[in-house]
Amino acid sequence: MDNVLVSCEQADEFKVGNHVLHSRLILGTGKYDSFEEMRQAIEASGTACVTIAVRRERLHDSSGRNILDYLDADNLLLLPNTAGCYDAETAVRCARMGREILRGLENPGANWVKLEVLGDSRTLLPDPIETVKATELLVNDGFQVLCYTSDDPIIARRLKNAGATAVMPAGSPIGSGLGILNQNSLQIILEDLKNDDPDYPVIVDAGVGTASDVAIAMELGFDGVLLNTAVARAKNPIKMAEAMKLGVEAGRLARLGGRINKAKYASASSPDVGVITSRDPK
């Protein structure tokens, strides 16, 4: 079984910008009970890439506990994000500081960013206008921009046209665990962005609750899934991380395998001919 998955993965590269990832799962690093639990969940998930936030350094705590001590930065690609920014200007500043940190660490993730420009603290839905503006500014500044967005197909198209390296619509609100709420819109986004460009990366970012949500996203044709809360706040984050890994692999294989068409009526799996009969037919 392992061999089947490995050979499939080898032939099935996940390329985002100039990065090639050996897993289609991208994991967030927030909300874990401890850095150690986070480290174990990352390992169990098999991910090649984790996203991290940029925040003010604490002025009055020199304990020195640092997330970097728990991330295998030699083997993990770090994806800095602009989480918590509410306008394009702040998001650009945040992205530049993330790039500066990753350059210092000599991590190849220095050239990309997960762009998140929020419009509202209750829904954490993106501000579409500021997101497009920030994308243009960051692309001009040499960033490969992975854009968190809503399930609106027109904004998704605008982001791709603005030069986004990947578009990442939410399945449902961040941290909600509601899964994929609007399959129809997401399928329109996939069709539209991949129409003349089948390898253009489109990733579900946010809303996933459990492994079946991830499998559904992959079956729909998404190139990958980015998630955080569903693992970090699960009863057992390490088990859930492995479940997400398997969900991504199952969904991707199902996508490549090609599902059957849905039909209204039954279709027998055994031959019609050769069925034994009764001695006294009715």
Binding site: G30, K31, T51, I52, A53, L59, N66, L68, R93
Partner: protein
Amino acid sequence: MSDNKNKLEITVNGEPLVVDEGTTVTQLLARMQMNRRGIAVEINQQLEPRENHDHRIVEHGDWFEIVTLVGGG
């Protein structure tokens, strides 16, 4: 502490701070125990690349943001 150097008032991560005139960014970071890997410095909303930290002198009124990486999604 009772030297004759002039004092400058600056802001670091939203908090006021008094430093000696002539302090470099590198010295400021050392004093705040922030001179380690995994940080970035912005002065007056412009990124200050680490290669400038040794010679950039802190000026009165400078507004510093010193950031690091934290867990997030």
